[in-house]
């Protein structure tokens, strides 16, 4: 019987019509309210009562099942202890009556063409655990060929949305693959070895074992987390023909979120197990819609926080398994979908399945400070930032911004029609129920999402010959912190003062930390000396060139009492514990030449023991959006980021190496950050404009340089204030 129904549904889907499976004896419902007879069909009622029972396949009544007129949430009722329901049906134009029943943990089922007065029996099939590791994930299709038996068959727009999204790139993202295998993007042996790497044969991501030459450099998840490979004198962890002892056994849980669609056991997989669909399309349709539930008490990813529910019930003809797709709607009764409601698809919690991570120290032999990080190190905290902020409302879950409602779509089946509304093609939906599957990122959209996040303002005062500037950065448009709680993101802000006398010298206030990037850094007295005209600094001289600059900053002994995020946003943390000492600007000097260990300086330099020096590029010209990142540490300005450190104290490390977090001054939703800066105002200098330019830097510049990745600064906010106005 069920198979026959299924085949009928398949025919309907293929032919694009309604299921003409009405019993020949089916009658048009008799009127119960003739006063409202406006349906166009004589005798059709304006409204009538529908009663029935919801049962499971054993005939047992199902209590708490939700029953409604398809597409009309307002009619929804719940079955009683006997599985009974009663609801009122108001007839509408272009509509055949259809009643849908569903329940959490069950596939929805619909009934249409029923007799008026018939007491309905609706059988709903459960989708019981366990997860089926023999299930093979299905491709979403290409978003073009609707004859393909996949998501593209009906949900053309959704597939096109998804294919353009970062979720589709989640596995094949080369930065991820580089960090995982411990390689860089250097394209050939020469450049690799120049950078200090080892050019060798290793696994080609996305294949089933193909090999490719690549540059092993800088460590990575596999070499750093495993003891039998990747170390000095050891073969790479993805080298061919590894012995059993050398093969990696620890995978860092990367694949649990970055490659959730690897067939087989869910969770704990090697990212290199991803090939074919799981590699090419990352977090694709069939992986998300096989998430049966979310348990935030567990670690992130599939097999843990994301509880998978791949079907194991035998399917009808043409299907190995009885289909099931979990989603936010109760009334998706098309048997091909096997729609099973999971309200969390509409909630931020669903996104928290991956975008929230408190981790242990992952490197062998290392541990977190249990007093500081009793729950683990919060390396991903986007969900909790949203949870703690003003956007934590029903209407403004993550989906509000990242899966915006498609206000022009009427239904998720993109070739459906109003006249086809019903069990097979669904019903018209409210915008909130037809969300674009673009998973909109910060740099996407017009305007870009991140461009609406920050409001920056400047207040100026003059004390003697000094301009005091206070810059305010207010997160007014982002539901989580800015930059986001994903690791490695940073904002770099440059503050400049320019008048008709030229660029004004910064002589006080805050500066850009090492997060802003430095070609070299050091401390006066620690192998660095100066005679005022030259600077002896061997490390810098080895790489410096004329035209670059040395920026000198001085520790103030004062720590920034910033508002902060998460642990660093608590009121009982002292400024010292928040970990950001203010370094004031001393000088920025141009390098005119490099001679041996000595930098020849364009202007005299007066430094003192303890001053910090940074080698970087000059701030010449405008800070253009999308420009190649510059090393800006030491310039007037500030940085906003979460700084992770490893056991050796190295800062801004990738999260898999982290054992501590030493600061987090990112700006929470609705929060405001203040910075202060001072500039020398020469006598007679007029038309002074102070400008703050805020740039979004997706990953640390030092990491990008090491790995030979493109490093781009995205200008997201500019504020300017003229002195005296």
């Amino acid at each position: 019987m069920r198979t026959a129904l299924f085949i009928a549904a398949l025919w309907v889907a293929a032919c694009g019509g309604k299921a003409d499976n009405a019993d020949p004896g089916t009658i048009t419902p008799s009127p119960t309210d003739t006063a409202g007879d406006d349906s166009g069909t004589p005798g059709t009622p304006a409204s009538f009562e529908v009663t029935g029972t919801v049962v499971d396949p054993d005939g047992t009544p199902v209590e708490g099942a939700l029953v409604l007129v398809g597409g009309r949430d307002e009619t929804m009722v719940s079955t009683d202890t006997d599985g009974r329901f009663s609801l009122w049906y108001d007839f509408e134009d272009h509509e055949e009556p259809a009643i849908v029943a569903g329940k959490l943990g069950y596939r929805a089922k619909g009934r249409d063409f029923f007799r008026y007065g018939e007491d309905l029996t609706i059988e709903i099939a459960p989708v019981n655990p366990p997860d089926n590791i023999d299930y093979r994930y299905q491709s979403p299709g290409d978003g073009i060929d609707t004859l393909d038996e996949n998501c593209s068959h009906c949900h053309v727009g959704f597939v096109q949305d998804f294919l353009s999204s970062k979720h589709a790139e989640a596995t094949r993202n080369p930065l991820l693959q580089d960090l995982y295998a411990g390689v860089s993007a250097h394209p050939d042996a020469l450049s690799c070895e120049d950078a200090g790497g080892v050019w060798a044969l290793g696994f080609e991501p996305g294949t089933e074992g193909d090999l490719i030459n690549k540059c092993y450099l800088g460590g990575g998840v596999l070499p750093d987390l495993n003891t039998g490979c990747g170390g000095m004198g050891q073969p790479a962890c993805d080298a061919p023909d590894l012995s059993d002892e050398a093969k990696p056994e620890v995978f860092g849980s990367c694949a649990d979120c970055h490659a959730p669609g690897i067939n087989g056991i869910a969770g704990g997989r090697d990212l290199h197990d991803a090939h074919g669909l799981s590699f090419e399309l990352g977090v694709h349709c069939d992986t998300c819609h096989k998430v049966r539930d979310v348990d935030m008490s567990k670690p992130p990813g599939v097999g843990q926080r994301l509880i998978m529910g791949r079907p194991h019930e035998d399917g009808p003809v043409g299907f190995e398994w009885l289909p099931v797709f979990y989603g936010p709607l109760i009334d998706v009764p098309n048997p091909i979908m096997g729609g099973s409601i999971q309200p969390k698809f509409d909630s931020a919690e669903f996104c928290g399945g991956c975008h929230e991570h408190e981790q242990a120290a992952l490197l062998p032999g290392e541990a977190l400070d249990p007093e500081l990080w009793p729950e683990g190190l919060p390396t991903h905290s986007t969900f909790s930032e949203w949870s703690a902020g003003p956007y934590n409302q029903d209407a403004t879950q993550c989906q509000f911004c990242h899966m915006p409602a498609d206000v022009e779509a009427n239904n998720a089946v993109h070739f459906s029609t109003a006249s086809k509304r019903g069990i097979v093609f669904g019903w018209p939906r409210e915008p909130d129920n037809i969300r674009k599957h673009i998973f909109r990122g910060p740099l996407e959209g017009d305007p870009r999402l991140i461009d609406t996040a920050l409001y920056t303002s400047i207040a100026l005062t003059v004390e003697g010959d000094t301009i005091e500037a206070t810059v305010s950065l207010n997160n007014i448009g982002c539901g989580h912190a800015i930059p986001t709680g994903e690791p490695m993101r940073a904002l770099v802000m440059v503050v400049e003062a320019v008048g008709d006398c030229g660029v004004l010298e910064a002589n006080g206030g805050m500066t850009i930390s090492d997060v802003g990037g430095a070609l070299a850094s050091g401390t006066v007295g620690d192998g660095i000396t100066s005679d005022g005209e030259t600077l002896t600094w061997a490390e810098a001289a080895a790489i410096a060139s004329a035209g670059q600059v040395v920026r000198v900053v001085r520790p103030s002994g004062v720590f920034d009492d910033y508002t902060g995020v998460g642990t660093f946003g608590t009121h009982d943390m002292s400024p010292e514990d928040k970990g950001m000492e203010i370094f004031s600007p001393v000088a920025t000097v141009l390098i005119t030449a490099v001679v041996d260990d000595t930098l020849m300086l364009g202007t005299p330099l007066d430094i003192a023991a303890g001053d910090r020096l940074f080698l970087g590029e000059a701030l010449s010209g405008a800070l253009e959006d999308g420009a190649v990142s510059r090393h800006l540490a030491g310039a007037a300005g500030y940085t906003f980021s979460r700084v992770l450190t490893d056991a050796g104290g190295e800062r801004s490390v990738p999260h898999y190496k982290a054992t501590d977090m030493v600061s987090d001054n990112r700006i929470g939703p609705g929060e405001n950050a203040l910075t202060s800066h001072a500039f020398h105002l020469p006598s007679g200098c007029g038309n002074v404009d102070v400008t703050a330019t805020v740039m979004y830097r997706p990953h640390p510049l030092n990491l990008a340089v090491l790995r030979d990745w493109a490093a781009i600064d995205h200008r997201i906010s500019v504020a300017s204030k003229r002195l005296g106005e």
């Binding site: 349906s39 003003p390 403004t396 006249s419 915008p431 409001y455 207040a459």
Partner: protein, 375 residues
Amino acid sequence: MKPAALITGISFLLVGMLGGGCASDKASIRSPQTRGEPTSERPAEDDCTDTFPVDVKPINELIDIGVRMPNAAALPTILSETGLYSDIATKAIHPAYSHFIPQFILWSDSATKERWVYIPECDTVDTSDMDNWSVPVGTRLFKEFKIDGVRVETRMIERLGPGPRDFAYASYLWNAAETEATMVSADGLNNAKGTDFDIPSKVQCLQCHGSHPTGGGRPSRALGFSALQLGFDDTSLSLAHLKSSGAISHAPAHALTIPGTPEDVAALGYLHVNCGNCHNTTKDRTPQVDLDLWLDVNTPNIGETGAWTTAIDHSTQLFNDQHVLGRIVPGDPSASAILYRMKQRGNPGQMPPIGTEFAHAEGVSLISDWIGGME
């Protein structure tokens, strides 16, 4: 099936204003005594013909196209075919249209604006909720924008179906000779006809005339055509006209008044039209913040207005810039976020966020004086 309210509603003739082919129904109009009471009886359907009839079936056919909602494709590509004009060359407005002037004007930079509405003669505006009128299927609204006396754009909204989203939106760009206007693409057009004036994109249309997924709005969609905005004078279409002609299903029990001093009324009205369309309490509002600057028609006490209950002496939720101390800080305009944001342009602090590139000096002065006068 039409809603019961429409079936039992009235048809009408706005003599000399709405025109049309319906028999006058004035004799049957009852004087409403209380808000929410129907205004009149509906004549037999045979007596009524809409000047611009809408066939519901084509609406569904439009929806059928890829299941996209009704959009500009449902509307004529040139303005002369929309029915607004009986003669576009002479700018003679079709007699079925009524000119109306809201009592509070949305700031649109330097543009001057004219508005017309066509209400199907055989139907009524459902005004049972006086704060959220629901115009009948077939209703058309036009707004013309002139810059320095030159016609630049005319916008059109037509209700094509009974659903909350069954509205089509179009913008028409006037040619140099002002003999015709042509529909602009969904992307809109910046600096139209060499001016600073931007014709909005489809997305921007919906940011005000839609619902919160795209910004903000109200269920009525037709924002300026509302009970509070239509005065009782005789200079243009008024509540009195609508009431007497039976074009509205329910009439207010009393003349609509805004509480407070003249300064309060001016300020509240300004905030109502410039802010309240998004910052209100309907499900279509901008949901991020709990600000309500919409004026409910039935708020007799100024202390119960949204401005008082959500703005005055209230902290900001998201906008916590160094220059502000609250949404409206009585006696301290410079510390009031609402005023501060009214002055912003070209950055995320700007309010309203779209539709204007220049701060409204008169509006800033009005609100500044109002806040400054508070104790």
